[in-house]
Symmetry: C2
Subunit: 289 residues, 2 copies
């Protein structure tokens, strides 16, 4: 496994891979890897000659008062996990190399962001598409793998690739969960023991919503209300949102009659957890864009 930290070394490596006609799969992360990331690496390994993992805590996607400084980091452990998963190249650039000065070019996400996490994180997705544009150009992947736990991010990245004709395929990958259903997340370490015990209620509430849609429920407001009630009754968390929207356009729906996302975000004492299900009209899980 090669560990590359400069843009120049990565660019040289990429030229060599092109000469060798290797297909490249790419997993973009902010490190502190967990089994969610590992499932992305496994999928990339299965579908490409070479798998590149980037570890970069991107300052541009954190707002004022967010957890950029305290975002968990463990490079040694991350590299061990990447090695175990058979990753070929780990790219770990310095922030000063990625953002060497004021940028003349600004990217802005003008749609799909006034809902869900985008609503409470102004500018967050502008930072995401900026860093991904740079990383896509540096790594030039054939396929890029993103976890559906951040389903809004997947929708925004799909728009980025579509709108600007990036020559790559966005591959959404199902959320990986703990045995009790809690979605894997780097931020789960922030939960108190008591919070950790009740946190699976978020997923349980989404599962109940899925069941009600399979049983014929069509009214998004009623389904969302039931999700909120369940989370409120089972946890000490404060609900940020529970929303049902079309997917990936992320528009309000009057009736559940096409592909939708049911998404929830819940504040606990030191962590804000998100989870979601992307469902077809009949309540079955989305498999592929």
């Amino acid at each position: 496994m090669k560990i590359i930290s400069t843009l120049e070394a990565l660019q040289q490596e990429r030229v060599q891979l092109a000469k060798e006609q290797k297909s490249v799969g790419y997993v973009a992360t902010m490190g502190f890897l967990h089994e969610g990331h590992q499932s992305l690496m496994k999928r990339s390994k299965a579908e490409n000659d070479i798998t590149v993992l980037s570890i970069f805590v991107n300052p541009l996607q954190f707002g004022a008062g967010e957890d950029f400084e305290t975002y968990p980091r463990d490079a040694v452990r991350d590299q061990r996990i990447a090695e175990q998963e058979g990753v070929d190249i780990v790219f770990m650039p310095e922030a000063a190399a990625m953002y060497p000065g004021n940028s003349t070019i600004k990217l802005h996400v003008a749609d799909r962001v006034d809902v869900l996490c985008g609503k409470s994180r102004p500018g967050h997705f502008d930072g995401v598409v900026t860093v991904l544009s740079k990383l896509f150009h540096l790594i030039q992947p054939n396929r890029a793998y993103f976890g559906l736990k951040d389903a809004q991010q997947v929708a925004v990245v799909q728009a980025l690739v579509h709108d600007l004709n990036f020559p790559l395929e966005v591959v959404p990958v199902s959320t990986v969960r703990e045995e009790d259903g809690l979605a894997k997340s780097s931020r789960n370490v922030y939960l108190s023991e008591q919070e950790r015990q009740v946190a699976p209620a978020i997923y349980q509430a989404l599962q109940k919503a899925k069941q009600s849609i399979q049983d014929g429920a069509k009214d998004p407001e009623k389904v969302a209300s039931a999700v909120k009630e369940f989370i409120n009754s089972q946890t000490s968390g404060r609900i940020d949102y529970v929303e049902i929207l079309s997917y990936p356009a992320l528009k309000p729906v009057k009736e559940i009659d096409a592909r939708i996302i049911i998404a929830a975000a819940v504040y606990f004492d030191k962590a804000r957890l998100i989870d979601n299900l992307v469902l077809e009209a009949d309540g079955s899980i989305m498999d592929r864009f």
Copy 2:
């Protein structure tokens, strides 16, 4: 020579070129080709295995009241010229294919645009970097050739490539001129016979400025004033601007002691002409970034 009009056909062609390990040079144009464009094609031919020419009158870079509708077009003649120059692929997409709907992702040029042509064309360079991002992704050139007649465009494209780490080299190419010094331009056809006779005074004024810098002139205001006076005394045109700025940062300078651009824009009855010289501190012509 292949003429390709759909994005899908171009993408297939590009995959094939990658398999054959061909280097690709790219010339982006809005058509109505002239010897300026031809010099870009010749340079690309000399430096790459394959030369791709795009012809696309990009609606996004025209403002309200500008000449999008009347911009001169002649596809048959353009294809003949491209064939003569040995171009391998002409890409002529439909606007509906390039812009299939409202874009979620917006690109904005936040610097280098409040001067020169950018000042009187708000949003123009946002349209330029948007279409070029798309075309760069579709064509994936190793080198992209741009004429220094649009020196501000070259500076903005260089910022685009630098800021977002596009894996390509921007190659600036010297302005091609008529025998009397007038810079070649698709818009020269709009000049009246009398205007055409006096228009070379713009270049003559820039040449005089170059000479005065070589003779030791350091004050940008004095040099610019002399350029304005000469153009006013020799033509019926109305000066839009004459500016001396650092290059490619395009910032005001107090003294001519590093690389600068002297640029002029002059309105005639039905055409606005631009011209410039990019000079080193000693008054010699810039050769390369």
